[in-house]
C-alpha cells in the first residue's frame, strides 16, 4: 500500500464520518450565514456601505466559521484512541496529516465557497467581485485548514479548547484575511485583484509545504 492509497483510504473514512454527522457540518455552514447577516443588522442597510464592506464581511465570517470547525479535526480521534493508531502506522505522519487537512477542507471549507456567492449578492457585490470572492476563498480556505490544524493539534484535550484555539489561530489568519478581502475590494474598485490573489496563492503553497511538519510536531507534543 503506497502513500497515495493510504491518503485515499483516510479521505474516504473522514468523508464517511462527516456524512454520518451531517449535523456538525451543517451547523458550521449556518453559522457562516448567520454571522455574515449580523453585519448589516449592526451597521444599517445602506447599500453603498454594504457594498464597501461585503468582501471583508464574508471573509471574516468565513474565518470564524473555519475556526469553529477546527474542533472536529483531531479531537474525536484523540478521544477514542484512533489518533494514536494513526501515529503508529508505518506511513510517515506528514502524509496522513495532509490527508486529514484535505478532508477537513473538503468538509468544512468547500461548503463555505459554495455559499459565499449568495452572501455576496446580499451585500450587492458586482459579478466580477463575486467571481473574485469565490476564487479568493478557493485559495484561502485551504490555508485556514492548514494553519488551523496546528492550533487544533496543540490544544488536544485541553479545557477551554475552542476559545484557546481562536486566540492562537486568528492572528495567524490575518494575512489571509487581508489578501482575500483585499482581492474582492480590488475587483470592486477596479484596481484589480491579481496581486492579492497571487500573494494568496503564494501563502497557500508555503502553508502546504510547511504546516504538515508543524502539525506532526504538535501532535507528538500533545500525545505524550
Amino acid at each position: 500500500m503506497n502513500m497515495t492509497q493510504t491518503v485515499m483510504v483516510l479521505l474516504r473514512r473522514e468523508l464517511m464520518l462527516a456524512m454520518r454527522r451531517r449535523g456538525d457540518v451543517l451547523t458550521v455552514l449556518f453559522f457562516f450565514v448567520i454571522v455574515a447577516s449580523l453585519f448589516p443588522l449592526g451597521v444599517g442597510p445602506d447599500p453603498k456601505l454594504l457594498r464597501l464592506m461585503g468582501g471583508g464581511v464574508v471573509w471574516v465570517s468565513a474565518l470564524l466559521a473555519a475556526m469553529l470547525s477546527l474542533g472536529r479535526m483531531f479531537a474525536s480521534d484523540y478521544a477514542d484512541g484512533t489518533l494514536e493508531q494513526l501515529i503508529l502506522t508505518p506511513t510517515p505522519p506528514v502524509v496522513w496529516i495532509t490527508g486529514k487537512m484535505l478532508a477537513h477542507w473538503l468538509v468544512s471549507g468547500v461548503p463555505l465557497i459554495l455559499v459565499a456567492p449568495v452572501l455576496g449578492v446580499q451585500f450587492g457585490l458586482s459579478n466580477e467581485a463575486l467571481g473574485v470572492l469565490v476564487f479568493s476563498l478557493l485559495l484561502g480556505t485551504p490555508v485556514l485548514s492548514l494553519i488551523g490544524a496546528i492550533g487544533a493539534a496543540l490544544t488536544l484535550g485541553l479545557r477551554g479548547g475552542g476559545v484557546l484555539v481562536s486566540l492562537l489561530v486568528l492572528p495567524l489568519y490575518i494575512p489571509v484575511l487581508i489578501f482575500g478581502a483585499g482581492a474582492v475590494d480590488g475587483a470592486m474598485s477596479g484596481l484589480g485583484a491579481e496581486a492579492h490573489l497571487s500573494l494568496l496563492g503564494g501563502i497557500l503553497i508555503l502553508a502546504f509545504m510547511l504546516t504538515p511538519w508543524a502539525v506532526s510536531a504538535a501532535l507528538r507534543i500533545s500525545i505524550e
Binding site: 496543540l154 484557546l164 492572528p171 495567524l172 490575518i174 494575512p175 501563502i203 510536531a217 500533545s222
Partner: protein, 248 residues
C-alpha cells in the same frame, strides 16, 4: 556567545539559580541608570519639535517599547528553538520567563502610541501599519501565555509554547508585510506614524538609550521570573531544600 563548556554547567537549574540571583541587582541598576539618562535626553536635551507639542516626547517610551517588544519575541523564539532542538529545560524556562515582559512592553507601546496619537493626530487610535502590527504581536504573546497556562503538564506546556512561538516568529514578517500592504491600500485619510518628521540625532540617541534601559530591565525581569519557575519546578529537589534551610 554560548561557551560550549559552560552551556551545560549553566543550564543546570541549581547553578543558574545562583548565578541569576547575583546578576539581577546589577541589571536592575543598569536599567535604572539608562532610564534616567534616556529620560534626561528625552525630556530635557531633545529640542521641542515645532510641529508637535511637548507631547511628542512620549515617543521616547513608545518607540523603545515597540523595538524591544519585537526583539523579545525573536529572543523568545530563539530559546524555544534551542529547547526543542536540544531538549534543555532551561531554554524553555527562559522563553516562558520572557513572554510576560514582552507582552507588557507591547501593551506599553500600544498605550503610548495612543497617547501620542491623540494630541498629534486628534485620534486615540489610528490603524497604521506599525500600531496594527503591534496589536497583532500582542495577541501572539497572549496566545503563547494562554496556551502555557492551559496545559498542566510542564513538559507539554514548554514544548507546545515553544512550537507556537516558532510558528509565530515565522509568521511575524508575513503579518507585518500584509499589514503594511493593507495600510497603503486603504491610506485615505489616515496618517501614518511612520512618517514622523526627520529626527534630530539627539532624539535617536535618546530612544536608543531608553531601548537599552528596557533591555536591561527585561533581562532582570526575565531572570527573576526564571528563578521563580525553577523554584516551582524543582521544589522537590534536594538543592532547594538545602538552600531554604540555609536561608532560614
Amino acid at each position: 556567545m554560548i561557551n560550549r563548556f559552560n552551556k551545560y554547567k549553566y543550564s543546570s537549574p541549581a547553578t543558574f539559580y545562583g548565578l541569576a540571583g547575583r546578576l539581577i541587582p546589577w541589571f536592575y541598576g543598569a536599567a535604572a541608570l539608562f532610564c534616567m539618562a534616556g529620560l534626561y535626553i528625552g525630556l530635557v536635551l531633545a529640542p521641542t519639535d515645532f510641529q508637535q507639542s511637548e507631547a511628542y516626547r512620549i515617543i521616547f517610551i513608545h518607540v523603545p517599547a515597540a523595538w524591544m517588544s519585537m526583539f523579545i519575541y525573536v529572543v523568545m523564539a530563539f530559546w524555544a528553538a534551542l529547547g526543542l532542538a536540544f531538549n534543555t529545560r532551561m531554554s524553555f524556562m527562559m522563553a516562558s520567563a520572557l513572554a510576560p515582559t514582552g507582552a507588557m512592553l507591547t501593551f506599553v507601546s500600544l498605550w503610548t502610541g495612543a497617547l501620542w496619537g491623540k494630541p498629534t493626530w486628534g485620534a486615540w487610535w489610528v490603524w497604521d501599519a506599525r500600531l496594527t502590527s503591534e496589536l497583532i504581536l500582542f495577541f501572539l504573546y497572549l496566545g503563547f501565555m494562554a496556551l502555557q497556562a492551559a496545559i498542566d503538564d510542564p513538559r507539554r506546556a514548554d514544548r507546545a509554547g515553544a512550537l507556537i512561538a516558532l510558528v509565530g516568529v515565522v509568521n511575524v514578517p508575513i503579518i507585518y508585510f500584509s499589514v503594511r500592504w493593507w495600510n497603503t491600500l486603504h491610506q485615505g485619510a489616515s496618517v501614518s506614524m511612520t512618517k514622523a518628521p526627520s529626527m534630530a540625532s539627539i532624539m535617536l540617541v535618546g530612544m536608543l538609550v531608553m531601548a537599552l534601559a528596557a533591555w536591561m530591565y527585561t533581562i532582570a525581569a526575565a531572570l527573576s521570573r526564571a528563578r521563580c519557575i525553577i523554584l516551582e519546578r524543582e521544589r522537590n529537589a534536594q538543592w532547594v531544600a538545602q538552600m531554604l534551610e540555609a536561608e532560614a
